[in-house]
């Protein structure tokens, strides 16, 4: 049925586009027409291949040859040699290492191994509302294996050996956590799934629940078996209606298939799962706060110890892990601890899902092996910075994390490296910023979030973060002093040192990391009263270009504070003392004479 015998895929990702992929495409098209091949071979533009620095990229189908750094002038050679003569143009092939990657490619013609999908293995592949499709992808085999072949301790040992660490941010060894809960003696225990993904800009857990809910259910049952719990609870954000629906469907199906309920796999093990809803409080991502919220109370954290593994939901031992952590478990059981431990770095095993967002071309959900560099994530997978602007910073770890700079681009991502760099893994939000982002404002944005979301129980977090926010606000308005910068640092350090829970203990990180990495920018705001990104309104000046001004008086009439003076038909002038920077004059001017400086 195929009309065309060959396809030439030209990457039209943003970066390739910027490096003339369009011209390459046109040149190829012209050459084909010149050789009367336009009805045999088709040129198609595609999304990003994830090899932006080698772009433009051309791929030939069906033989899967990949050409890199193709220039318009190469079009003729490709058409003549490859299409007409069947000879590969060797000089355009990628370097050896890349070639190897492509040589080993398997199932699909568009294949590259920078990403590995473990937690996301089924996400976007299977119908999340069809349990049979999950089973067809080896679903529930791990649970079966655990219940019929392993003792609880053996399962715990596998998880321990795999090196899996909590994906919710803290990075606590998962197997160890399970073991602690397992060892506590109690008539009742609980398995809790923390699905209160609250970082602004993070949607990893939501995607897993929407795309592969059974993997979470299966893992929770496995945990129940290990720890001796018969009841699982998923604490999920009420703002995630679709994830709630898919989880409910999945739980019902699992019950119908006997994979939840009594005597699962004839092992004598009973397990069932209920949903509990969050109600919009970021702090409930903290496990003790989460438990109080599940008990119908204000989501205020309590001092640890006791940890939930000993004293959790309703005072009973409870194992709390987040969605992504659980999603890894069935694979580890199926493929073995050694396989999992072979991926990643020495202390951080496996892969991590990130929600890549901000000023980046390929916003999306990605999963990379631990140890992948930020550069690979941002410039290869992410396709680089939007609009060809300059990369400035990447924020990881949400409101608990920090802003990293171009100096950190070659840092391999893992728990310990990110902390050493002044940020943290967090749950996996990764926001990219460009030259238009003012780092003081970014710090203020995060502090604003923390102030909104602080529970108010302990004084450093309740009052300290408010004061941090106020100082940052003052700086962005151009009213800051060097003394304020000293205060920022001392306050940040004390809040970290004295706060009750993880929220307060990490909330100053956006301030500290920007102070460390963008000190000059703070000083500019304070001393030079200048915002290089041009985003701090308080530091901007509206001025009238005397040349362009026609003296129409439209601006002067519109100015709400009468800051503009000038003769009719003569150039006008803005009195900076009076101006409140509302921007009305700029809106009103028909001659583009009002400028923002």
């Amino acid at each position: 049925m195929a009309k065309y015998r060959m396809h030439l895929l030209v990457c039209d990702g943003t970066t390739c586009h910027a490096s003339q992929s369009e011209s390459v495409k046109n040149a190829l098209q012209d050459c084909l027409e010149l050789n009367n091949l336009e009805n045999e071979v088709k040129v198609v533009s595609t999304g990003c291949f994830g090899y932006c620095e080698k772009g433009p990229i051309v791929k030939v189908l069906p033989d899967n040859t990949l050409y890199v750094k193709v220039k318009p002038g190469d079009a003729e050679e490709i058409v003549k040699e490859h299409i007409l003569n069947g000879q590969i143009v060797k000089r355009l092939l990628p370097t050896e290492s890349v070639a190897q990657v492509y040589a080993s490619e398997g199932k699909t013609p568009f294949f590259d191994k920078k990403q590995i999908r473990i937690a996301l293995r089924n996400c976007g592949f299977i119908d999340p509302e069809n349990i049979e499709e999950y089973i067809a992808h080896d679903g529930y085999q791990a649970l079966c294996k655990c219940l019929t072949e392993y003792t609880p301790q053996q399962v715990i040992d596998i998880i321990k050996r795999s090196g899996l660490r909590g994906r919710g941010g803290g990075g606590f060894p998962t197997g160890l956590k399970w073991e602690i809960t397992a060892k506590v003696k109690s008539d009742q225990k609980y398995v809790i799934c923390n699905a209160d993904e609250g970082d602004p800009g993070a949607f990893m857990d939501r995607s897993i629940m929407e795309g592969d809910p059974h993997s979470v259910i299966e893992a929770m049952a496995i945990n129940g078996y290990c720890t001796g719990a018969n009841k699982g609870l998923v604490y999920i954000r009420a703002e995630y209606p679709l994830a709630v629906k898919r989880l409910k469907v999945a739980i019902d199906q699992a019950r119908a298939y006997g994979l939840l309920g009594k005597n699962i796999f004839n092992s004598g093990f009973d397990f069932d799962i209920e949903l509990r809803y969050g109600a919009g409080a970021f702090v409930c991502g903290e496990e003790t706060a989460l438990i109080h919220s599940m008990e119908g109370k204000r989501g205020e954290p309590t001092f640890k110890p006791p940890f939930p593994s000993e004293h959790g939901y309703l005072g009973k031992p409870s194992n709390v892990n987040n969605v992504e952590t659980y999603a890894n478990v069935p694979v580890i059981i199926n493929k073995g601890a050694d396989w999992f431990a072979s991926i990643g770095t020495e202390k951080s095993k496996g892969s991590k899902v990130f929600a890549l967002a901000g000023k980046i071309n390929n916003v999306g959900l990605i999963e990379v092996p631990m140890g992948t560099t930020l550069r690979d994530v941002i410039f290869k997978i992410g396709g680089g910075i939007k609009g060809g602007k300059e990369f400035k910073a990447v924020q990881t770890g949400g409101p608990s994390g920090g802003c990293l700079t171009s100096h950190h681009l070659d840092t391999p991502i893992d728990y310990d490296n990110l902390i050493a760099a002044g940020s943290m893994m967090g749950s996996g939000g990764m926001i990219v910023m460009d030259e238009d982002d003012c780092m003081v404002s970014i710090a203020k944005f995060y502090l604003g979030f923390t102030v909104d979301e602080s529970c108010g129980k302990c004084s450093p977090c309740r009052i300290g973060n408010k004061r941090l926010y106020e100082i940052l606000d003052k700086i962005t308005k151009g009213e800051g002093t060097m003394e304020d910068l000293t205060k920022l640092r001392n306050l940040s350090e004390v809040i970290k040192d004295t706060s009750l829970c993880g929220l307060g203990q990490t909330s100053p990180n956006p301030v500290l990391s920007t102070l460390d990495n963008f000190w000059e920018e703070y000083v500019e705001h304070v001393v030079d009263k200048k915002c290089r990104a041009g985003s701090c309104k308080g530091l901007m000046k509206y001025i009238i270009d005397a040349e362009a001004c026609t003296g129409c008086t439209a601006c002067a009439r519109a100015c709400p504070v009468n800051a503009i003076s000038g003769e009719r038909k003569g150039p006008h002038f803005i009195n900076q003392e009076i101006c409140i920077k509302c921007g009305t004059c700029m809106e009103k001017c028909k001659f583009n004479a009002v400028l923002l400086q």
Partner: protein
């Protein structure tokens, strides 16, 4: 309803699932039918994936193409939502991004009917396990 009690039960479901796909009472041979997955995560839906899915279902039936359209989760390409994956019999699956009604129509007419690739393919840039 199957009550799964052993590994064999699981394996049976797995095998059966590969062999026959049933949609609204009809049996399909997966080897002979066009299979389309529509990414119906929150961002997909927000970008109009549901409309695209309905369009595909209606139009494929109208145009007498034996096809199975199912939903799936987020494929990860938030920048290119809505995304759909099309698998023609005997061929590798191809993912298309930014699929609106017009694009969906083009996919039916050109790719599904003629095997002609069209602009907007998303290269799969990850390895799955």
């Amino acid at each position: 309803m199957v009550h799964v009690k052993t590994i064999e039960d699981l394996k049976k479901i797995k095998e059966e699932f590969g062999k026959r796909i049933q949609v609204s009472g009809k049996n399909f041979d997966p080897e002979k039918v066009v299979q389309i997955k529509v990414g119906l995560g929150t961002s997909g839906i927000a970008s109009g994936a549901k409309e695209v899915m309905n369009f595909l279902r209606d139009e494929l039936e109208k145009r007498n193409i034996e096809a199975l359209v199912t939903q799936t989760g987020d494929m990860g390409y938030s920048y290119a939502e809505p995304t759909i994956e099309v698998k023609l019999p005997g061929q590798p699956a191809v993912v298309f991004g930014k699929v609106n009604i017009k694009k969906a129509d083009e996919i039916i007419e050109r790719y599904i009917k003629n095997g002609e690739l069209i602009d907007g393919i998303l290269p799969t840039n990850y390895m799955t396990i």
